[in-house]
Symmetry: D2
Subunit: 331 residues, 4 copies
C-alpha cells in the first residue's frame, strides 16, 4: 500500500536506479501559487554531497507533470516527477550473491519472489524521500501559518553532531543520530481520538522514513519514569496555556495549542565503509563483505527536511479532516 492520508493523499512511486521517482498528491486545493523554484530550498537541504555524505549527487529538480496551470495548483491530482540521472547500477549487479546486512535486500527477495529491482535498494531506497520532500513543500504552503522545524540533536551519542560525525570518520564506520522536531502554530483541536490521534498519524508517516527506529512525543520515554504530578502540564489560563509542555502539544491524541514536539531515533546507515561478514547464498559460506555504491556515513544529517515534510503532510490532512466537519478552520 503505497499511499497515505485520508483526504490529502500522497502516493509514492519509483526506484533508486530506474527512470525516476516521485509522488502524486490528491486533493491539493486550487489556487496555490507554485513553481519549480519553490522546491529549491528544501530539495537542497535533502541533497547529499556534504562532508561524510554520499558522492552521488543528483540535480533533483521536481517536474510538475500535472495539477499545475499558469503557475497555480488547479485542484486536480498533482504529479511530481524527479528523474534519476546519476545512476551506476553495475555496482549492484556484482553483489547479487550476498544480501547486504541492514538492507531490505533479503526481505524484498522473499516478498517479491526474486522479481524486485535490487539496484540500490530499488523501491526501498531512501532516494524516494526526495519526492516526499517535494510533497512537503506543498503541504507547508497549505499550512502557511504553521512552522515545521527539525534539526539533528545527536550523532553517535554526541550532543554536538559534528563531534559525532568526527567519530564516524575516524572509525571509518557509519553512525546513527537523533532528529528533534517542533511544530508551531497548530490550533487546538486537530487530530482524532484513538486511531487518528496526532501521535498515531505522525508516527505512521515518520516510521515510513527509512532508518527510523524510534519516536517519542513530548517527554516521551522520560515520561515513563515520572510521577503524575511532575508530568501533568498545569493549566494557567482559559486558552489551555500550561506551565510546561511534557505532553508535546498533544493530549488524548488532539492538539492542545502548545508546540508539538517529538524526537526520532535514526539507526546508522546500513551501508558502512567498514568490512562486514555476511552469508553468500551462492557459495553457502560466510564471507567478508564490503559495500559497493555511494552512501552517507550518517543519514540522520539529511533527515530533518524529510521529517518536516512528513509532519507537514500529516498535519495538512488532519487540518482538512477537521475543516470538513466544522467548516470553521482556525488556520
Amino acid at each position: 500500500m503505497n499511499s497515505f492520508n485520508t483526504i490529502f493523499k500522497v502516493q509514492i512511486y519509483g526506484e533508486s536506479h530506474g527512470a525516476g521517482i516521485g509522488v502524486i498528491l490528491d486533493n491539493v486545493p486550487p489556487g496555490i501559487p507554485l513553481n519549480e523554484d519553490d522546491f529549491t530550498a528544501d530539495m537542497s537541504r535533502r541533497k547529499g554531497g556534504q562532508r561524510g555524505g554520499t558522492p552521488r549527487v543528483e540535480a533533483d529538480i521536481p517536474e510538475l507533470k500535472s495539477g499545475v496551470f499558469k503557475g497555480h495548483t488547479t485542484g486536480a491530482p498533482l504529479m511530481i516527477w524527479i528523474a534519476n540521472e546519476n545512476t551506476r547500477s553495475a555496482d549492484y549487479e556484482k553483489q547479487r550473491d550476498v544480501f547486504r546486512p541492514g538492507h531490505a535486500d533479503f526481505v524484498a527477495h522473499i516478498k517479491y519472489k526474486g522479481f524486485e529491482d535490487y539496484r540500490g535498494g530499488g523501491h526501498f531506497s531512501a532516494r524516494l524521500t526526495a519526492g516526499l520532500v517535494a510533497a512537503g513543500v506543498i503541504a507547508k504552503k497549505i499550512l502557511s501559518t504553521v512552522s515545521f522545524e527539525a534539526q539533528v540533536t545527536e550523532v553517535a551519542g554526541q550532543k554536538n553532531p559534528e563531534k559525532g560525525l568526527e567519530l564516524a570518520i575516524a572509525a571509518k564506520d557509519s553512525v546513527g543520530g537523533i532528529v528533534s522536531c517542533t511544530i508551531k502554530g497548530i490550533p487546538v483541536g486537530l487530530g482524532e481520538p484513538f486511531w487518528d490521534s496526532i501521535e498515531s498519524r505522525l508516527a505512521h508517516a515518520l516510521f515510513a522514513i527509512p532508518a527510523v527506529k524510534g519516536i517519542e512525543f513530548g517527554a516521551g520515554f522520560e515520561a515513563a519514569k515520572m510521577f503524575g504530578t511532575e508530568h501533568n502540564d498545569t493549566y494557567i489560563d482559559q486558552y489551555g496555556g500550561t506551565t510546561t509542555n511534557h505532553a508535546g502539544g498533544i493530549i488524548g491524541g488532539i492538539s492542545n495549542g502548545n508546540p508539538i514536539t517529538f524526537n526520532i531515533a535514526i539507526k546508522p546507515t546500513a551501508s558502512t565503509p567498514k568490512n562486514q561478514t555476511t552469508y553468500n547464498h551462492t557459495t553457502g559460506a560466510l564471507e567478508d563483505f564490503s559495500v559497493k555504491g555511494r552512501h552517507d556515513l550518517c543519514v540522520a544529517l539529511r533527515a530533518p527536511v524529510i521529517v518536516e515534510a512528513m509532519a507537514a503532510l500529516v498535519m495538512a490532512d488532519l487540518f482538512f479532516l477537521a475543516r470538513s466537519k466544522n467548516g470553521t478552520a482556525a488556520i
Copy 2:
C-alpha cells in the same frame, strides 16, 4: 476517524459512562470457533482491581451481537458490545468548572464545541480499550501460529515493576512505565515499503492506546548511538538467520523472520491522588484540584494485554494484505 486497518477493519465506539462500549470487526474469515468464554483470559488481564488499581471493576463480558452463528464466525461484520454497569457519573458533573490536568477534557471541549460527553473522559476513556482487547482475542485466533507476549519491564524508572509501584504508593502519586512486546512466528515478507511498514502500522495502532508517548523497535533509541557495524545484524544462513536482532525483526518495513520486538513508553496516569493546581474557568483563578473518580496508580500495569491486542490486529491485517497478493500464505 474511528476505524483502522485496510481489510481486517476495526471500528471503535462508546463512552466511559454511556450505555456501553465496543468494536465492530470487518472481514473476519468465516468458520473460526468463537464463544464468550474465549474472551475471559485476556479480558481479566485488562481489568482493574489489583493493588494500586482502580476500584471501578466491571464484569466486562463481551457480547457477540452479530457475525457469530452456532459457535463460529460467519464472515459477516462481528459486533462486540460491552455494557457499562459500574458508572458513577455524578463525580464528573461536579468537576465541570476545571479541566483536569493531563486529560483530554480541554481539547475535547474545544474540538466538540461543548457537546462532548465529559463523564469519565467520554469517548477518550481508556475503558474503550476493553473492546480492543476483545477484538485482539479474535485476531490472535486468526494468527494461531503467532505468539504475542507483552509485559511491564519498568515502572517509575525501576526495572522491578513492583518496586516502582511501591514508590507510587509511598508518594501517593501516579507513575509511568515501560511495556515490552515480542511477536514470534511472523513469516518473512509481511509489511510494505514506506507507508505500510510494520513499524508504521504498529506505531499507528499503539499510539492509539491512551497514555502511550513513545515507541522504539529493536535497538530503538539505542541504535542512534551505535556504529553501523555494531548495529547491522549479520546474516548466517540462507533463511535470513542473523547473529543479533537489533532490527527488531523488521528491515525496510518488512518482517525478516526474527522476533518482532518493541518497547513503548507509558506516561503516568493523568488522574493522580495527589493535589494539583489548575485553572478554574468559572472563577478565572488558579485553584487546588483533587481528582474525583476511580483510577489506577499506574496504567502501564494493565497495558500489556492491550498492546498484544493492538499488535495482533495490525499483524492480522498485514497478513491478509500479503495473502491477497500472493495467495500462498505461510501462516
Copy 3:
C-alpha cells in the same frame, strides 16, 4: 467490506434473525439535536404491514448507544442499535436442503464455507436497510437545506403503482418496480472528477440496496438514443441555469446546481408466494418449492425512504469532502 464513504463513514452490521441490526456513523459533527423521535417518520415509511406487504412487523425503534449526550450529537462515533423481535427462525431451518431461487443462499453458502447465518438471509437481509434509514435521518439533518424526495413511479410495468400491485395480487406473484428520486438544494461543485463522481458514489450506494438492478441519471438510457443538440442542456444565465435538465444535475461528475435526478430499477421480490422449481442438494433432484417466511409482494414499495437515506449519506460525505478543501461551504 462493510463500510462506506470517506469521512462520514457508515459501517453496517447485523443479521435478519440474530440479536439485532444497526450502523455506526463516524465523523458526525457535534451539536446536532437528536433524539429517538426524530427517526419515527422515516422508520415508519420503511416498515412492512401495508397491503401486499410482509406480515412481519417490527417496532424498529433505533436506540442511540453512543455518540449522543444530552440530546445532541457529541462528535464521537454514533452507534445505532435496532433489536430484532419478531423472528421465526424455524421457517428457515426447514429449508436448508434447497437454495431459494433469487436469494443469496447459494452464493453465501459457497463464499462463507457453510458458516453463514442462513436464517432469513442473515446479513444479506433487506432488514439491514432499517439501520441505513436511521443513518439517513442524521444525514438529512446535516444537509438541512437539501431535500431528498423519492417515490415509486412504476410497479410491474404500470405507471400507476396501485394498478401494478393489483396485478401482483391477482397473479399471486411478486413484482418489480421503479423508484425515482430528486435531490434539490445541492450547490454547484460537489463531487469529484472520475472515481468520486456523484454518479459513481450514488450508484455505489444505491446498488448496495438489495434488489436494485439498474440506475440511470437524468435522461439516462434515453440519452443513448438522442442527438447531442437534443441532449445538451442550454445555458441561459451566469449561474449555470439551463433550459432542460437532461444531465440530471451532474456534469463531469460534479453537481451543476440543477436538481439531481435518477431512477432505479428494482427486481421482483425473490420470495414469491407462487410455487417454483428448484434443485434439492440433499436429494439431488429438482423439486417443487414454496417459500416459507413472510415477505412483501413488491419491495419497491418500501424502497423510496431507503433510496433517500442512501442518497443523503453519499451527499453528506461529498459535502464534507468539498468543505475540507475549500473551507467555504455553501450549505
Copy 4:
C-alpha cells in the same frame, strides 16, 4: 479523490493538454511478464481516427516508469506515463467567454475557483481513459482465466451501430449509444454484501467513465416489469447452474458463477458539430456557439475497451479481497 479500489489501487492523473496523463497501480503482484507491446491491442482499440471519429490521433504508447524490471512486474507501484503530443490548445483559449454546453467547463470553473486547466476539458477529459485502458491490460493479465468482452449494441437508438452512425453523419450531430459487456470465468463468491457488492463496485467505476449516464445488470430495467417467477433464475444443479441469467451473474452482490452481464448508456458527445445556443458570460447575452477542437461523433464507439478495463480493474480488486480472507483462490 482520484484513486479507486481497496488493494489493487488505481490513481489517475493528468490533463488533456498538459504534459501527459497516466495512472499509478498499487499492489500489482510481482512476476507478471510485461512490456510495452502488451498494450498495443487495447490501446489501438481506444484510439480515435476512425469514420466519424476525432482527427486528433496520438501515438498513445504507455511508458512504464516504475514497478517493472527486466520485463516483469516487481510488486512496487507501477507508474504508467502517456505523453501528450498532438495538442492544439489555442482552440480553447478562444472559447473562454462561454461554457461549452454538456461539458464540465462551468462546474470546474466554480469548483476550482477559476484555477482549472480549461484546455480540452483539462483533468475532466476523456483522454484520461487512455491511462485506464493501459491499467486494464495489467488487470486482465492478473485475471488471466477471466474474459472481458464489451461491444457497442446500439447507436442513436439503432441496434445496428453503423446505421446509427449514418444518422449522426447525416444530421451533422453527435449521438449516444449502448455498450454491453459480458465477463466470463469469475468463480462463485467474489463481491461483498452491501457496500462492496459487485454491482456497487462496477457501477462506481463505470460511472467514472465520462458520458456514462445509466447502468443495468442482467435483466436490469426490464426486471422492474417482471413477475418473481419469471425473473428468478431456476437452479438445476449443485454448482449453482441455472436455466436463465436474469440476475446477470450476481446475487446478493456476490458472483454466482454465471457470466456477469451489464449494459451502459452513453450520452451523445457533448461536442457536436451542429450550432448551439449558449450564454456568453462576458457579454451577458445568449449567442450562437460552434464547438472548436477535434471530437468524435459518437464516443460510445470507443468505449468498449474502456468498459472492459474498468471491469477488469474492479474484478481484480474483488479477487484480491476474496483471496485475502480465504487464501484459496479459485482463479
